[in-house]
Amino acid sequence: MRKSWIVTLAALAPVYAQNIVIQNATIMTVTKGTLEGSLVIKDGKIAEVGEKVMMPLNATVIDAGGQYIIPGIIDCHSHIAVDGSVNEGSVAVSSMVNIKDVINPEDIAIYRALAGGVTAANILHGSANPIGGQTIVLKMRWGRDAQGMIFEGALPGIKFALGENPKRPGNPPGGRGATQTVPARYPATRMGVEDTIREALNQAKAYKAEWDDYAAKVARGEHPLPPRKDLKLEPLKEVLEGKRYVHAHCYREDEILMLLRVADDYGFKIRTLQHVLEGYKVAQEIAASGTGASTFSDWWAFKIEAYDAIPYNAALMQKKGIVVSLNSDDDELIRHLNTEAAKAMKYGGVSETDALAMVTINPAKQLGIDSRVGSIEAGKDADLVIYDKYPLSDYAKVLKVLIDGRVYFDRNNDVNGRPAKALEKQKLLDKEKQSQPKPTGGRGPVQ
């Protein structure tokens, strides 16, 4: 009975979004400096931030004395919450598949990311294809269904990938002469990767022309039969129309420049270069193209194309004027992106605010959601993380995480709830053990 009450209350919570005041905290707004003061949340939005605030009626007060508040962390490159494989690796162009179709809101990695202060993440298709699947931005609204996780209004994206991963299926184990049960998949070289992308974009251009022609005829009052809708070319048409972001997995400087030229040729922009470990070598060119960069802090040498990397990459790119974010690409790393940001301070002397920006407002800009999230400002979504200590430190623990003004993670509740959960589980394990059929046969215990 009590359980059902809790369920009911939880269901009502978003309807009766409470007013919340968090006071006595160090508030690191990222865009408006750092201050000691309070923060007011109304209807899921940040209503006021300041040393002194107007206390609304019926507000829940969270006293955060000695604690720190930062904007919710945003991960620009993640593969959590995906059911099934993240790669539709069978074809070189898999733009017909969509992460949106396979969101798994019950993936425990979501809760763990949340416990690490992440409130939004860009969920990407894998990098097995020169052109991969469609991507989606999620808020870590743990407990909601798949639709409830989607960051409403965020422009969708698509994954592109360059280099070793997309060309690997063209070079199957055993070499090209070896007997293969299935034929190798084109492309097998970096040249082939570029060709594959150009060929797909050519198709998309022709496809777009077909639909534009159809729309023109309809506008003239004619009644033509519509062209066939092609799920592979639809998202690429949107890329050409600037309605879909391209997030491109890349490492080497030459292929980075290649992709920027391809985009130029077809009249669209790459939204972000992902990983981009050699970005520091061509930072000027990346900056000139207005392309964002989302990189690792200090992870490299996991394959040949990832050797020529330095931990100063993020700082150097940022100094050239690129919007830089630090991402996780990993279920574990996503749990402490705050320390990834801190590494940019150590390597490259990035300021505290700029470092924090690399996991908050910068990824928000890269995902086109910076009007909603990424900093602590009046009017923005109340997506917030409360740390017990200075957050750019290994010792900081996340105490609470709010999304849309609702507490989705509370460390105290989690820790206090563990014994009861363990007991519940043990009960089921015992029950299961008892219901197992007893082993038969006359043999004594095995020696």
Binding site: V7, D83, G84, S85, V86, N87, E88, G89, S90, V91, S94, M96, V97, N98, I99, D101, V102, N104, P105, E106, H125, G133, D145, A146, Q147, P169, P172, T181, V182, P183, R185, L225, P226, R228, K229, D230, L231, K232, K421, E424, K425, L428, L429, K431, E432, S435, Q436
Partner: protein, 468 residues
Amino acid sequence: MRKLVAALLLLSAWAIAENPRTLAIRNAKIVTVSGPVIGKGTVVVRNGLIEAVGENASIPDGAWVIDGEGMTVYPGLIDSMSTVGIPSLAPATPPAGRGGRGQTTTTPAPTPAPAATPATTAAPVTRAMGPEDRPATTSWVLAADEIDPSDRRIDSLRSAGFTTTVTFPARGIFGGQGSIIDLASVGHAGEMVVAPAVGQYLAVSRGGGIAGGFGAGFPNALMGYIAYIRQIYLDAGHYKLLKEAYAQSPRGMERPPYDRALEGVLDSKRILLPANRLVEMDRMLRFAAELQQPAILYGMREAYRPEAAPLLKKYGSPVLVSMHWTEAPRDPDPEAYRTMRSLENVDQGPAAPGLLQKAGIPFALYTDGLDQPKELQRAVKKAIDSGLARQDAIRALTLSPAEIYGVADRLGSIEAGKIANLVVTKGDLFDDHTQIQMIFVDGKQYKPAPEPPAGGGRGGAEEPGESQ
């Protein structure tokens, strides 16, 4: 083995020879399912149909009269999703309960065989480069065209009281349409078919692939399957548009090419989609709504979860619940981590039918590879022990599946005019010691196959390679 088959053949031959065209079972308890239980009454069968039922139904002259004193008559049970009748789709390993098939909570069931199994419908094995290659699609196939009366599972399932299956050509992604089959032993498969096309079987794998696994072509990830199905429906819609335009005025219009894959899709009045986890139910219900297809979900391992019934209610799709309940792993690795969910699936899975019943969700049970009378009986008992009322269990195996597939006008209950599919028992149908006395399919009497010796198996289904 051969001896046993021969013996069974003799037995069924004898059974058929015994069958008069008119018969009556009198003084029996009659569970009509559609109406109240008749404490003591008569069922009259003529020419394969139920002619009359009631306390005082008059017995026609010349009828074979069976004294039903101490017996109960039920409508024949219906397996609402099956591959029985298509021997090549029999599970390759013995079903659970004998340490065969491992239990998982996520794989769709029944396990589809590779796309290229039967020679008649095999698509050429080439690397599919996208949905346009229509991999793993045999949407035009009808189970009715593949029925083989010699499938040994027919006798086994019938001995458990099943007189009817909804048999699907369960292979590939668009497997083809299911057919309602009466489990009669007749020479001509066509006589077994009650309804030839009741819905398109769709399989959605989580990856690894029905189409042949990684490297064998599109699709191989779950999202690939979904994109593939979506494209097929877009293509079907477009195809229909072109066909209609061409039919209206072919002059001056380029002829749209004939596409049997799309014809099969357009011919299907409903689709069957797999959903075991709650997340999958949500996903598939939304997907069916997007495709604008009436859908039946199958699997339902997590239908016991409190969120499931309201979700299903919202969409109004009927569901088929697998009787192959999630079981605890046998001899598990003691180090292996068990999630809370996997423990709950074992503990509460069989409670799903009772909960769906209470919530008013139309549902039916299906055998999901189980075909041994004892294990089927145990499986239903488990649902009853977990909260499903006995009469609701019977309904979920008779009238409910008939309603779900739109054939309640001829199957599913004991009413005058319906097909004479009956089970006669001593004792309540799902009790441990109940014995099925006789089974009637299309008015013909069958005796249950002799029980297998304890510990052993009936027939040879357990012998490796036998079922292929």
